[in-house]
Symmetry: C6
Subunit: 205 residues, 6 copies
């Protein structure tokens, strides 16, 4: 198993795709919820995120605050447990709206206790209603996903025409799902809930 | 049905009109209310909004805080549910006072559970008493509304003279309502309340 | 009845006078109090106000917090109802201390439920004890008031000498009241309290 | 009676002395305490005060918070009543530490309900222990006090040597008290407490 | 015993490694928890820390807020006791993510009451899930550790290739542990818990 | 008795040493605790302190919040009484970490009600564990202390070598105590506690 896959070995980590100066790259969004006994509260954002990316995190959180109950997520956790979203590497500045789906997925994974599938990466702006809006750099992002051993990529429906620019052999290795709503992203990216047994307690932390 | 119309398929989304570097454009204001169980509170604004546009949002909220009960809106929701207003696209800076009516409408739609009519777009500054004040760019905004398949446009009464500059064939396709008070905007733009039945619960979220 | 007069058709709106790049102008200060059920609190200021004008609003509010009870205003409203002062137009930057009397009057009007007389405009800095201090631009402000159909203007006593510069025919049309204390402003500018009847409930909102 | 004297006709106003571009000048420090029913809290500072002058206000307040009870001031008022210090004129920037004694006196006057003597002006930095520290501009300040009809001036003891530069005829008209502690300032500047009778309630507001 | 070792003579101090203009250097991260009786709360950061290093501290704290209970740390202390992290020397600006493991260790040491081993120094970025990410300056840092009398150094696993650049004689004197998770760091760096006796109470403060 | 000595005539004032453009100088750190009835809370810093010096104050406070109980100080006072640290003169900018011991001493003096010895001055950075770290300007500081009539100076142990640069006749007049821990500073600098009698109540305020 590759190191990248191990990053998503716990609930709360989702694999995103970014465009950097040197082409595309895989990035990880990590979410944590403070133990309620620690008195943590509010939303903390780290990873040298720019203004637009910080707003994406607020949108992801508000989407779950208003629609999480419909999705059967334990949203009361958001009241008394501090939420922290971090995007390593800590010293690299990052910006843009395209991690919206990844942030929403990391948070939903943490709340549900369902891990994100290690073979899935995703990119897309999210609106407050859950709509997935188009982003840039589809070609570089798919090349990066392919290089990183990812086999399934979720992109905004409105970016489907950009697939024409992606080399056929890359597209062959990848399963690309165009999505219009972040609820589709959650269905495709989250692993099934683990059934609890006495011997294997599952904790979302 | 066009994609733009689908944006207003849920309560809390209203269609506005903006002037951009490349003429006019349709924009959407999205509102959400946090589930009270999540502990959300206060007003969150995203979409790279400038100072003037942020103030428009505060005015829209204060108008509903002080006049919402008259309009039979469930204003107690504003006490314990965090309000979030977002204007996609997330990375595009936006400013100016002319989204005041659109922000007020998105919030009133969300509170009332009444969807905004998909064929209606609107532009106008709102004052704290609900007065609709004149804005710029009427011609470009009406052209953009027409291009986007909008059939009804609400403009400030004091902008009526600007209709002279709009091509006759565009005006023929559009129904233009000059309005002097945001209460008129709400009457014209919101769909009738859905009557609740056991099988179709309606939730404002 | 002129549109300008209609601006003061509800309690909470007072007519001020400003000096702009193009002479003098009438401006309106609008005040609102949030419905206590909405959980609003604190002081919100909008209208692209500069530092000095924001301080004027804080002085107006503190004057009413400390002297409002003497004036028989229901000051307990200030505890649990968010106060918002707005000065349209939303996109025009404004600054200076001379709206102090207008801000105090708009707030007192709202608290008392007494409308501001539509034929009255006013200008003057207010100190924390209610003293009315002199301002600039008396000539341009009176010309603007006259153009706008205003018939009564309140100016600081210490600005009386500036009336020499105002054309005689303008002064003939205007009743000018020099005032030394904001309590005089309130007496001259607020309409008498409406007596409540079962059929005409009056709400300060 | 001169207008300047009337400024101190209510408790909470003290006469200070400043150096301006055009020599010295008299300034007034005004203090107010919010009616506890209005929910006001904290310390508000207005008058375009610079960093150093804002710190002087914090020092004045902390001195009374820690030593006010010794001075038999009703310091519990500071807990639930918002304190506001204002220095007119509102649009004129002011800075420097020399209004420390004046700010302390205005606040102590308000708390005690004892008016400040109208013939007294003062200048001096205050330390957190109440020590009065030396300031600049003694000559210009005394000339300004004399011009304004002030007859008693309080200066820091360590500024006594600066009196050599003040014209003899000015010193003849003025009673100058060098002071080393702000408690001396309060003794010299505050009028005796008014004895309360049923017909003349005194309110510190 | 060397002075550097004495720095870790109390729980709450961990030895890190930094790259400075003049090669590498040892630095100390100090943590304190306020006595709950003092009302301290929140996270305080001092030592002229840059943005990235402040975020490292927030990540360290969030890691312990969400995973501390698993590690059998008394995390309820984090609710009512103010946390302070300081990195002397106070006047020297510091930045970068590589003190993440050191900050986590200092905090865990303080919470557990277990001292950090004086012969151990460490470097590594920490992610929100506890993953140890690679850092720069391995060679300079190991030379500095060696000069300071340190005998055991913890580095990120992904930095193992950088050991090739470290002189063999330095590596001979040092035991280098590559680590992939901050939980390994805590196991290697913290001394065993002291058993409490009546005569030697141990306090984590 | 010299004026400088009188500065420390009340608990809460400690004598420090600074390097200025014109050599060394004596400075005073003043601490106050708000009367709990006044509702004061938090930490207030004045005296135009730079970033590093503000951090020193936070370190001093955190040291006492975490170690004050060991030192038998009434640390519960820190919960409900606002702490204010001021360094006159109010208009002179000050920075650097070397007032750390002086700030800690002023606060400990205030809490304990024990005055600081008037013949003692001190300089040294303090770490969060109470360690005294080296500072600059030993020579200028000792010359200034000597000029000011100080007879005992506390310096960091690691600054002992700098004593070589101090003129022998100055060292003869001064007793210099090198210290490694701020607890030594408190022992050397604080006067014994006054025994309370009915006639002479002692108040730390
Ligand atoms: Ca940006
Ligand atoms: Ca494929
Ligand atoms: Ca702007
Ligand atoms: Ca038409
Ligand atoms: Ca300004
Ligand atoms: Ca007239
Ligand atoms: Ca300044
Ligand atoms: Ca005299
Ligand atoms: Ca930075
Ligand atoms: Ca080795
Ligand atoms: Ca600095
Ligand atoms: Ca000696």
């Amino acid at each position: 198993q590759e190191p990248e896959e191990r990053r998503t070995a716990v609930p709360g980590v989702a694999t995103g795709l970014a465009v950097t100066g040197a082409g595309g790259d895989v990035l990880f969004v990590e979410a944590s919820l403070a133990d309620p006994e620690t008195g943590g509260a509010g939303l903390q954002l780290t990873g040298q995120l720019g203004d637009v990316m910080k707003e994406s995190a607020q949108i992801a959180l508000s989407f779950l605050r208003s629609h999480g109950a419909e999705l059967e997520l334990p949203v009361t956790d958001l009241r008394e447990r501090g939420v922290h979203l971090h995007v390593p590497a800590g010293a690299v500045p990052k910006d843009g709206p395209s991690a919206g789906v990844t942030m929403t997925t990391a948070l939903a994974s943490l709340l549900s206790g369902r891990k994100v599938r290690p073979d899935v990466a995703m990119t897309g702006e999210v609106s407050l209603t859950g709509r997935v809006l188009p982003i840039g750099g589809v070609k570089q992002k798919l090349l990066a996903a392919d290089r990183a051993g990812i086999t399934t990529v979720l992109i905004p429906s409105r970016n489907e025409p950009d697939l024409d620019d992606v080399p056929a052999e890359v597209l062959e290795r990848l399963t690309v799902h165009p999505v219009a709503d972040v609820r589709q992203v959650l269905e495709l990216a989250l692993e099934p809930a683990v059934s609890l047994t006495k011997d294997q307690p599952v904790r979302a932390a």
